[in-house]
Symmetry: C2
Subunit: 359 residues, 2 copies
């Protein structure tokens, strides 16, 4: 892989055990029975370890939503036409999409990135142009992208993460938690191909209806992926090879975001199936990324469970979401923020003069 | 039952089907695949039906946290001493408890109500004194309260809900969504007694460790409840009888909050095990309350599942919480708010010029 990616990965360290122990000790002194806030407690401790701060505060959440088109969409694997990708990017920029509503709800900014939409998009202050190409190639007839393009996509994602995290970039300070999101008609198909490859599962077990194909569409999607894997033979232990053979530009970009954020000790809340595919790529390239990831939710898409199991991530909630865009990640960020506020703001037994458990 | 309670129940109507159909139709025009926001869509439609508004907005959430003491605590059924009840009420009033942190996180007010704490509490603008008595009687040796006290507790809860909902009470307008919360050392014991009675299940199947009793404590708790049910013979089809024989003042108050809010078409987000016991009482007295309830989460406490199954409520999330106070309800309110914003604020396909699904 290129030296920029390699150097970024070298900077990723294990979680800070000292901060985690201090966070655990404080949780046990707060005015509640020990452990009674369940996963919120565990989440606050993970974020303490990620940030190296025993009382982390999350004040600048950013959802990075990456868009790209997919040559494989020409095989009739999606219920929607590819023209919806740029239309939805414009919808993001105008604030009318679900991710805009949920980002406003949680007080987050949405950073929209064109990683490879198949048309030109107008300039906009919230849109970053990292277009690698006008969509991937149709991976049912060859590789989705070159290896060099795959590395460029990952590098662009790292650079976007570093830009968002840098305190100098934004007047209000850099991002202290990042959510990942995607937009790309057809992108459940590369995601299923990626999870089948990396987790060694049959395609039919990890392929669902995406935005809503019918039975015939689902059968076609499964056959298309099976043929593509036969043809391309992606190497499951080489994340860049998998990305280049059967991936997508937004998937590579999001894998880069995860690597970049981990290198700066910023927690990453991953959304659903497409973000999960990006996480599989990131963790295959750099297993040290895994502790920095927080799985927001379990998607309706059937391959999502296999991904999360493979990465040993337990989602925070299951609301039958299957939209993408970072919608689940936004709700997950809100829980991370709640968890950190509990750790930071609650009174201790001593502060409040409350009697402790009788032994 | 007394005429105030009866008249309030008469005012509860079924959900507004017209508003629900309009909300469903709008969800299907928003720029996302139909159904792709899963339970958030269903939640917005329920709230449309509750409020009678096809695009409901939730701007004034209030968590009503009711506190009381329990004579049964003298039987050694809790890991904490009863003095913690008033200590925690003071912690609520000083803003240091988990419910304060989470209410601030979601922009809600916490209304604290003394339904029957076993000591006098200082006057405070956020504390309402509805003390029915200085704690219940020990229901292992007789009824927890008189039938008249049970009705007074329910009536007080209705009155608190009506006060919170009334636009004239608060400068910023009345509550448009209510979360329920509890504080009362020993109160998982009456809650287990209530769920065993109303759902006809063995006590051991619906009794857990509460705030953390050990094995011996759990065995004692189960035996205590079994003996109490033998002695008191609560009538499972008479919610007021169950409340008076084996309930608690905060449980009665919360049942009243649910009845009062339903009579004013305000959605109620119920918290965990104690709020669930109150909901069982409310739904036994007035089955028309059920559609107005939203179950926030599945508690660690084992009897909670039986309660929710009995009421046919599906919790929104499961974060292994077992604290009470309204902490789960606060997080649930945030999801309700997110769901309503999706319905109200998202662009339609027509607004945004996005192509619809190809047929």
């Amino acid at each position: 892989m290129n030296s920029f990616i390699a150097k970024t990965i070298e900077q990723i360290t294990p979680l800070d055990e000292t901060a985690m122990l201090a966070a655990r000790a404080r949780q046990d002194q707060l005015t509640k029975p020990q452990g009674s806030l369940g996963r919120l407690e565990a989440l606050s401790i993970q974020i303490a370890g990620v940030t190296g701060n025993a009382r982390p505060q999350l004040k600048q959440p950013v959802v990075i939503t990456m868009a790209a088109d997919h040559g494989i969409a020409r095989q009739g694997v999606s219920a929607y036409p590819s023209e919806v990708t740029p239309q939805m990017v414009l919808n993001f920029l105008h604030g009318g999409a679900a991710i805009n509503v949920l980002a406003r709800h949680i007080g987050a900014r949405v950073a929209v990135v064109d990683m490879g939409v198949a048309s030109d998009l107008p300039a906009h202050p919230e849109l970053t142009n990292c277009k690698i190409a006008y969509g991937t190639q149709d991976f049912s007839v060859g590789a989705a992208m070159t290896r060099e393009q795959a590395e460029r996509a990952i590098q662009a994602g790292i650079e976007i993460a570093l830009r968002e995290i840098s305190p100098s970039t934004r007047a209000q300070g850099g991002a202290d938690i990042i959510g990942t999101g995607d937009m790309g008609i057809g992108n459940t198909t590369p995601s299923s191909a990626i999870v089948a490859t990396i987790t060694h599962r049959p395609v039919a077990q990890v392929t669902g209806r995406g935005t809503g194909v019918d039975d015939a569409g689902l059968a076609r999607k499964i056959q298309t992926i099976e043929r593509a894997l036969q043809l391309n033979q992606p190497n499951p232990s080489d994340g860049i090879d998998v990305l280049s053979k059967v991936g997508g530009f937004e998937i590579g970009g999001l894998a880069g975001v995860m690597i970049g954020a981990s290198s700066k000790r910023v927690p990453v809340v991953i959304d659903g199936f497409i973000s999960g595919a990006a996480a599989l790529i990131a963790c295959t390239i750099a297993p040290s990324v895994q502790p920095y990831l927080i799985a927001a939710h379990r998607s309706v898409e059937i391959g999502h469970r296999a991904m999360l199991d493979h990465m040993r991530l337990t989602p925070l909630f299951d609301l039958d979401l299957r939209l993408g865009e970072g919608t689940g990640a936004a709700l997950g960020i809100s829980l991370c923020s709640a968890a950190c506020k509990i750790l930071d703001e609650m009174a201790t037994f001593e502060d409040a003069g409350v009697s402790e458990k009788s032994e």
